[in-house]
Amino acid sequence: MTEPSLFTLRPEVLLAILGMAAATYACRAGGYAVLRGRRPPRFVQAMLQHLPGCIFVAFILPGVVAQGPLHLAGAAAAVLCMALTRMLTLSIIVGVGVVWGLVAILG
């Protein structure tokens, strides 16, 4: 492989990008497309009410647990700060700050 210039665009790279883009858009649009224009069963409607929170918890918690107790503490700090202040920027800073501080002290 030769060093690319700033505006190099190789066909195989473009094809790979288009493949990734199509797969991603299929995921984004697919969940809605199957529901479009129809009324899902009551059980599915009840599930959809619960999905948002459940997706987030099931996405974040395994990731944070896998990273260890320091990141768990950081996530807990961000959640606590958000619950108390409802300030997103501050909560992000607190979460990152806790991880950074703990890594610096214990790391």
Binding site: L9, A26, V34, M47, C54, A58, P62, W100
Partner: protein, 233 residues
């Protein structure tokens, strides 16, 4: 709940105001993706196009991690599919908003759904906001911002390095953790959320790869919640 869905400039601007505080948290992650792309031999234009077309950070990082020459097209496409499968239930949950949209407004709004804009628009929906332009108001700035951060990371390759374990990278997860708080509706969420978290952690600790822990956890948690709701109407 049944107010008609609208699509206005005011809604678009409201979306921009909502997403603004979350934008700085994309910087470290975007830089890492750009640096990784440079390390794998992609040009600035190539990684910029990837960010514009794919617009999904974790899958870009995973895809670039699996990169090689010749390019493993099938592998990176499948990786994107697997990592982003969690977005399918997200767009399903936003269907009350999407149902009121047609044509480019619908398909463009679907394209810009991210973890952040999803949490924020669910919140808007629950507060009775029926202006679907809020999605694009969040999505378009995020899309341009994300692409800029990644391209900047590519430009900085050779000047700086940032490891994927740097504490700043935690900004992404910290943002999502904080946004989870806004999805909390009260004690009734405890059971479904607990099941979702427990199933997700158990499966990931058992060694199951992405996206199965998040999908199984989300479906199990919402199913438990739905069963409970239907037994006491």
């Amino acid at each position: 709940m049944t107010a008609p869905v609208t699509f206005t400039w005011a809604g678009f601007r409201a979306g921009m105001r909502l997403v603004a505080p979350a934008l700085p948290s994309f910087v470290p992650f975007g830089l890492v993706v750009g640096l990784q792309a440079a390390g794998q031999g992609l040009s600035a234009l190539e990684v910029m196009l990837m960010s514009l077309f794919v617009f999904a950070g974790t899958s870009q990082l995973v895809g670039l991690g699996a990169w090689g020459w010749p390019v493993p097209m099938l592998a990176v496409t499948l990786a994107a599919m697997v990592v982003n499968l969690r977005m399918a239930p997200m767009s399903a949950a936003l269907s009350p908003m999407f149902n009121g949209l047609h044509g480019w407004r619908l398909w463009a709004s679907l394209f810009t759904v991210t973890d952040h804009s999803f949490a924020m628009s669910v919140n808007e929906m629950r507060q009775g906001n029926r202006d679907a332009a809020v999605l694009l108001g969040m999505g378009i700035p995020t899309w341009l911002w994300w692409t800029s951060c990644v391209t900047l990371g590519h430009a900085l390759a050779g000047v700086m390095t940032i490891s994927p374990t740097h504490p700043l990278i935690f900004a992404g997860l910290a943002t999502m953790a904080a946004l989870t708080v806004t999805l909390w509706r009260g004690r009734a969420d405890l059971l479904p959320w607990g099941v979702a978290g427990a199933v997700g952690v158990a499966l990931s600790q058992a060694g199951l790869a992405t996206p199965w822990p998040v999908l199984a956890g989300a479906v199990a948690g919402s199913a438990v919640g739905a069963v409970r709701d239907m037994r006491r109407p």
